[in-house]
C-alpha cells in the first residue's frame, strides 16, 4: 500500500508541477491512521498531508461536481467502485468529463475502523496486510485480524473494475472473487412479509434523519432535494413518525433506482449502521431480474432501466407475485 501511495504522490506532484491540472483530489491525513478525509490539493506543498491507505473508503466522485466547474483541470484518484459513480455523474451531465483527469488507483478493499474496534482493538496506530491476515498495531500491542471480517460492508461483495481511466496506478493484482452480492437481499426475500416488516422497522426506527446517506450518495446530486424543498409536500427534518422514516428511504431508493451504482457509501456513512445498501440492492436485483442485467455507471451514456421500456415488460402484479425471476 505504501508503494501505491508513493506512486500516487509522485503523479500528483508531477501533474501539479507541470500545470497539467490545477488541483488533485485525494485523501488527507487525519489524527489517526484511520481517519483520512477527502481533500483537494492545489500545491505541491499541500501534498505533504496526502495519504492513501487501507482506510480511504470514501468515494471521491461526487466532489467532482463542484471541482469540474472550477477553472483548470482536476485530477482525481478513483478506486474501481468510484469510477461507476463517475460515469453516472458524467452521463447525467453533473460532471464535465473534459475537465477531469481520472487516475485509476488500485484498491484491495478498505477497512471499517468500527469493525476493528468492535473486535476489541483500540488506539490503532498502523495496519499491515498480508493476504487475508491483517496485523493491527495499537497501543495495546499487535493483534492479527481476519481481513474479510474488517472490510467495509461495501467492500465485502465488491467485484468492480475500473470503468474509466486516463491513467492508472495498479501495482498489485486483486485476487478474483466469486461472491453473490445479492445474498443478503435474497435472505430478506425468503422471509415472511411479517419478518421483513419487523426487520426494516427495527432498522429504520434507528434513523435520525441526518441525511448522511443522501448527502454522500453520488446519485443524490440534486441541486435541491425534494426532502429539503417545502414546496414538494414531503419535506421533513427529523422523522416524526415511522411513516416518515419509511417514506424517506423508499423515495430515496426509488429516486436512485437504475442510477445507483451500488457504491455502498450510504451504508458506510450511516451513524446508526442501517444496512441501507440492501434497499438499493433490491432495486438493482429486480431490475436485473425483470429487465435484464444492468449495471449503472458502466458507461457514461444511454438510458437507465426506468427511462426505457419494452413492449412486453412484466406486469406489476406478476412482478410482485414473483412470476419472473
Amino acid at each position: 500500500m505504501k508503494d501505491v501511495e508513493l506512486k500516487m504522490l509522485e503523479r500528483a506532484k508531477a501533474l501539479l508541477e507541470s500545470g497539467e491540472v490545477a488541483r488533485v483530489i485525494g485523501w488527507k491525513k487525519g489524527e489517526f491512521i484511520y481517519d483520512p478525509a477527502p481533500a483537494s490539493f492545489e500545491t505541491v506543498d499541500e501534498l505533504k498531508d496526502f495519504v492513501y491507505n487501507w482506510f480511504c473508503g470514501a468515494n471521491l466522485s461526487k466532489y467532482l461536481i463542484q471541482a469540474s466547474k472550477k477553472e483548470g483541470k482536476t485530477a482525481v484518484f478513483l478506486k474501481p467502485c468510484d469510477t461507476y459513480s463517475f460515469n453516472q455523474l458524467v452521463k447525467e451531465h453533473r460532471v464535465k468529463r473534459e475537465n477531469i483527469h481520472v487516475i485509476a488507483v488500485e484498491c484491495l478493499g478498505k477497512f471499517d475502523v468500527a469493525k476493528i474496534k468492535a473486535q476489541g482493538v483500540s488506539s490503532i496506530v498502523d495496519v499491515e496486510v498480508q493476504n487475508k491476515e491483517v496485523k493491527v498495531k495499537s497501543f495495546g500491542g499487535e493483534t492479527v485480524l481476519n481481513k474479510p471480517e474488517i472490510l467495509l460492508t461495501k467492500c465485502e461483495t465488491c467485484q468492480k473494475t475500473h470503468q474509466v481511466k486516463d491513467e492508472e496506478i495498479i501495482l498489485h493484482d486483486r485476487p478474483e472473487r466469486d461472491v453473490n452480492r445479492f445474498a443478503e437481499v435474497e435472505k430478506l426475500e425468503a422471509m415472511t412479509p411479517d419478518e421483513r416488516f419487523a426487520f426494516w422497522r427495527e432498522q429504520l426506527q434507528k434513523c435520525i434523519r441526518c441525511n448522511a446517506c443522501r448527502n454522500v450518495c453520488p446519485a443524490c446530486s440534486c441541486v435541491k432535494c425534494v426532502f429539503d424543498n417545502p414546496a414538494s409536500g414531503i419535506a421533513a427534518k427529523a422523522n416524526d413518525d415511522k411513516f416518515e422514516e419509511q417514506l424517506f428511504h423508499i423515495i430515496r431508493a426509488f429516486h436512485v433506482a437504475g442510477r445507483c451504482t451500488d457504491c455502498g457509501e450510504c451504508s458506510r456513512v450511516c451513524p446508526q449502521n442501517i444496512p441501507l445498501h440492501l434497499l438499493n440492492r433490491k432495486f438493482i436485483k429486480d431490475i436485473d431480474g425483470l429487465y435484464g442485467e444492468y449495471q449503472a455507471g458502466e458507461t457514461d451514456e444511454g438510458k437507465t432501466p426506468l427511462t426505457s421500456y419494452t413492449e412486453n415488460d412484466i406486469e406489476p402484479t406478476d412482478a410482485v407475485n414473483g412470476e419472473a425471476k
Binding site: 451531465h93 443524490c220 425534494v226 438510458k303
Partner: protein
C-alpha cells in the same frame, strides 16, 4: 385569500335521486375558503351557467368547483362559462358526482358522503390551481385520410371541395374499398359501381386530392394542427406515372394462378394485375409472392411487352414525409374468419359461401360475369339457404358480441335479387331477429317476404353437412317448434364483420383508443361521435362501429365538416396544461428528455446567482409548450421535482390525495 364557489348539480334526478344535493351544498359551506355553495337542477343549462356566472361576479370568486357529471362531459362548458364571467377558465374543477357516484351507488347516505368527499377533493385542488393561458400553434392546412373506401372517398371529396388539400393513403392498389366489391345496394337496389366509381374518378381528378395507393402510414408525430406523418409507398414494381392501364401485361403474364382477392379468391388472376376494371389509379401492380421474375429472376415477360416501359423489378419501398393539420381514419372492415364455425361446413364445402362471396358471384364484373353459378360445379343452385348472425351477437367467445348491423338488410337484398332473377329458385333464410331500423328498410324487408316469397325461418342452424352431394341445413323452426332439415344447393353465411386488422397499428400510431372489439373509440357516443379522443383525429365508417353505406357516408361528411372547421382556423389554442421545469431546482440530468415521447424537452446552459456575488453556469431543462402534450412522464422521472405539470401539479395531486383519503 381564496374565495371558492361550489355548485352542485342535480342533473335532474340523475344525481339528486341518490345524492342529497342540498346536504352536500350545505356541508360544503363550512369548508375553509368556500364563500358560496349552491345547488341547482341543471348546472349545464343556460340558467345553471347563468347562476355560476352571476355568483362569480357577485362573490368575487377566485375559483369554482362544479359537482356534476364527468369532466369529460362538461368541463369545457363550465370553463367557458367561467371565462365569460371573467374568471380564468383553468380556475374551474369538476367533482364527478354522477358517473363516479350517484350512478353507481344505491345508498343515499353513502353516496352523499362520497359526493362530499369528491367535492372537497376538487376544492383542495382548485385552491392550488393557477390561472393558465392557452398558447397558440399554427394549423397546417392539409388533411390525411387513412383508407380509400367509400368513407375515405367521401371525406376526402368534402374536405377538398372546401378548398383544402387532402391525401388519401390506401393500403391496396386501388381505392374503392369494400363498396367496390358489392353488386347492388339496399334499400334502393342501385348498382354499387354506378354510384361509387364516379366518386372514385372525382377523387382522381380533384386538384386538391392526392391518392397514395398501395401505401401505408408508418409513423405519426406531432399533434392536432401539426401532424408529421411518414408514409410508406410500397413497391408495386410498376411506375405509376408511366402505366397506362392497357392490361397487355395481364394477358402476357405466365403466372396466372394467383387468388383474385378482389373476387374473394373465387377465381385466379395474373401476378401482374389491375384489381378491377374501374380501379383508381388504373395502374398495374405485381404480386411479388407470385411473380416468377421477382422470385427466380427469370421471366421479365411483362417488361418486354409493356409499351411504355413502366415495369421496374428493382423498385423498392419508398418513404415520404408529409405534414397534416387533421387526420381521418377510415380503415373499414373485413368479414371475420370462420375458423371457429365448423358447424356451418364453410371450409369443407365449396358451396357454403359468405355473403361477400355471393356479392362477387352476382356481380356482372365478378368471376361468373354476374350469372349465379355455384362454385363447386358451376351449376345454377335451385335451393339457397341463408344463415344469419354467423359470428354476430355471439357471446360464446367464438364470434363477436355485437350486431354487425348490415346483414339483415343485405340478406333481404340477396334473397330478393335471386328471386327476381331466378324465380324458380327456392330461398330460405334462418334468422334470430330481423333488424330493419332505417328509412325504407322495413318496407324493403317486407317486400322480400311478401312480394318475393322468401322463406324466413325464425331459428338457429345447428349444422350444415354434405349428404350425397347435397348440402343439408339442419336447424330449428321456433315458430312451428320443430327441427327441420333443408336440402340446399348453396348456403350463404351472413358473416359478421370486424375492423380491418391494420386498424390496430393505425390506432397505436395515432394514440387513438380502441375498444375490446378493435373498433376505434369515439370521444363521446352521442356528442362527439366522429372525433377520436386524440385531438385532430376523426373517425369515419366501420372502423368506429358497424354501419351501412348511408350511415358511413353521413359520418364521413360529418368528419369532413369537423376537419374543415379545424383547417379553417389559422391558429389553434394549445393545451396550457403542459410541463414546466423550475430552473432553480433542475439538475440538467436529461432523464426527463429520455422519457419524453414528443421531444419537447431541450437543455440550455444558464447562469445562476449564488450567494456572495458568485455565479454558476448550470445546464437546465426547458420545455417547448407547443410540443408538450402534458402526460407528465417527465415529472416522475425528475428526482428533484423540478419538473412539474401545470393543471396537474404535484402539489395539487397530493392535496387531492389528502382530501380524498379523509373519511
Amino acid at each position: 385569500m381564496q374565495r371558492i364557489g361550489v355548485f352542485i348539480c342535480w342533473c335532474g334526478s340523475n344525481i339528486a335521486a341518490t345524492v342529497d344535493v342540498k346536504k352536500v351544498a350545505e356541508t360544503i359551506k363550512n369548508e375553509p375558503g368556500v364563500v358560496y355553495s349552491e345547488n341547482y337542477q341543471y348546472m349545464c343549462s343556460e340558467n345553471g351557467q347563468q347562476l355560476i356566472k352571476q355568483a362569480i361576479k357577485e362573490h368575487n370568486l377566485t375559483g369554482i368547483v362544479v359537482g356534476a357529471c364527468s369532466p369529460r362531459m362538461h368541463e369545457a362548458t363550465f370553463r367557458k362559462a367561467a371565462e365569460e364571467a371573467g374568471l380564468n377558465p383553468y380556475m374551474v374543477e369538476i367533482a364527478n358526482i354522477r358517473e363516479h357516484c350517484s350512478w353507481i351507488h344505491k345508498d343515499m347516505d353513502e353516496a352523499t358522503e362520497k359526493a362530499v368527499i369528491l367535492v372537497r377533493t376538487a376544492i383542495a385542488k382548485v385552491k392550488l390551481n393557477a390561472p393558465l393561458q392557452a398558447g397558440e400553434s399554427p394549423v397546417i392546412k392539409r388533411a390525411l385520410v387513412i383508407g380509400g373506401g367509400i368513407a375515405g372517398i367521401q371525406a376526402a371529396l368534402d374536405i377538398a371541395d372546401a378548398g383544402f388539400e387532402v391525401d388519401i393513403v390506401e393500403k391496396n392498389a386501388t381505392i374503392g374499398g369494400r363498396m367496390a366489391q358489392l353488386d347492388k345496394t339496399f334499400p334502393t337496389l342501385d348498382c354499387s359501381a354506378c354510384i361509387l366509381t364516379p366518386k372514385m374518378v372525382d377523387c382522381a381528378q380533384h386538384e386538391k386530392i392526392d391518392i397514395l395507393s398501395y401505401s401505408e402510414v408508418e409513423e405519426v408525430k406531432g399533434f392536432v394542427g401539426n401532424f408529421n406523418v411518414k408514409i410508406r409507398r410500397k413497391a408495386r414494381y410498376v411506375d405509376e406515372t408511366k402505366c397506362t392501364g392497357c392490361k397487355i401485361c395481364m394477358e402476357k403474364c405466365p403466372s396466372k394462378k394467383g387468388l383474385n382477392t378482389f373476387n374473394m379468391g373465387l377465381n385466379p388472376r395474373p401476378a401482374i394485375h389491375i384489381p378491377f376494371a374501374q380501379a383508381i389509379p388504373n395502374v398495374a401492380v405485381i404480386d411479388p409472392e407470385q411473380c416468377i421474375k421477382l422470385k427466380t429472376g427469370k421471366c421479365g415477360i411483362c417488361q418486354k411487352f409493356c409499351g411504355v416501359g413502366a415495369i421496374d423489378y428493382e423498385q423498392k419501398d419508398t418513404f415520404i414525409d408529409r405534414e397534416y393539420g387533421a387526420i381521418v381514419v377510415a380503415t373499414g372492415f373485413k368479414p371475420i374468419a370462420l375458423d371457429n364455425f365448423n358447424e356451418y361446413g364453410y371450409s369443407d364445402n365449396k358451396d357454403v359461401i359468405t355473403s361477400l362471396e355471393l356479392e362477387r358471384l352476382m356481380n356482372a364484373a365478378g368471376p361468373t360475369d354476374g350469372v349465379l353459378l355455384r362454385p363447386s360445379d358451376g351449376k345454377h343452385p335451385k335451393v339457397i339457404t341463408f344463415i344469419q348472425c354467423v359470428g354476430s351477437r355471439d357471446t360464446s367467445g367464438c364470434g363477436k358480441p355485437y350486431c354487425s348491423k348490415i346483414c339483415c338488410m343485405y340478406t333481404a337484398k340477396h334473397a330478393m335479387l335471386i328471386r327476381e332473377k331466378y324465380p324458380d329458385t327456392e330461398v330460405h333464410v334462418f334468422y334470430i331477429d330481423v333488424r330493419t331500423p332505417g328509412k325504407n328498410y322495413d318496407e324493403f324487408y317486407r317486400r322480400a317476404v311478401e312480394q318475393y316469397g322468401v322463406d324466413y325461418i325464425k331459428g338457429m342452424v345447428g349444422k350444415v353437412y354434405n349428404e350425397n352431394g347435397k348440402l343439408m341445413v339442419q336447424g330449428s323452426n321456433l315458430i312451428d317448434n320443430e327441427q327441420i332439415t333443408i336440402e340446399s344447393d348453396l348456403v350463404v353465411l351472413a358473416t359478421a364483420i370486424e375492423p380491418e386488422p391494420s386498424v390496430r397499428k393505425v390506432a397505436t400510431l395515432l394514440t387513438a383508443s380502441i375498444d375490446t372489439n378493435n373498433f376505434l373509440t369515439e370521444s363521446h357516443a352521442k356528442l362527439r361521435p366522429v372525433e377520436s379522443p386524440t385531438a385532430g383525429v376523426y373517425l369515419a365508417g366501420v372502423c368506429q362501429g358497424p354501419k351501412d353505406i348511408p350511415e358511413t357516408v353521413s359520418q364521413a361528411s360529418a368528419c369532413a365538416a369537423k376537419v374543415i372547421g379545424l383547417l379553417a382556423k389559422d391558429k389553434l389554442k394549445t393545451n396550457p396544461c403542459v410541463a414546466m421545469a423550475d430552473e432553480n431546482m433542475c439538475n440538467g440530468c436529461s432523464q426527463c428528455a429520455n422519457v419524453c415521447a414528443y421531444g419537447a424537452i431541450t437543455y440550455v446552459e444558464k447562469e445562476f446567482r449564488l450567494g456572495g456575488g458568485k455565479t454558476e453556469v448550470r445546464r437546465v431543462a426547458s420545455v417547448n409548450p407547443a410540443v408538450c402534450q402534458g402526460c407528465g412522464a417527465c415529472t416522475v422521472t425528475c428526482p428533484s421535482g423540478a419538473m412539474d405539470l401545470k393543471g396537474f401539479s404535484s402539489k395539487q395531486i397530493m392535496s387531492e390525495v389528502e382530501a380524498i383519503c379523509k373519511m
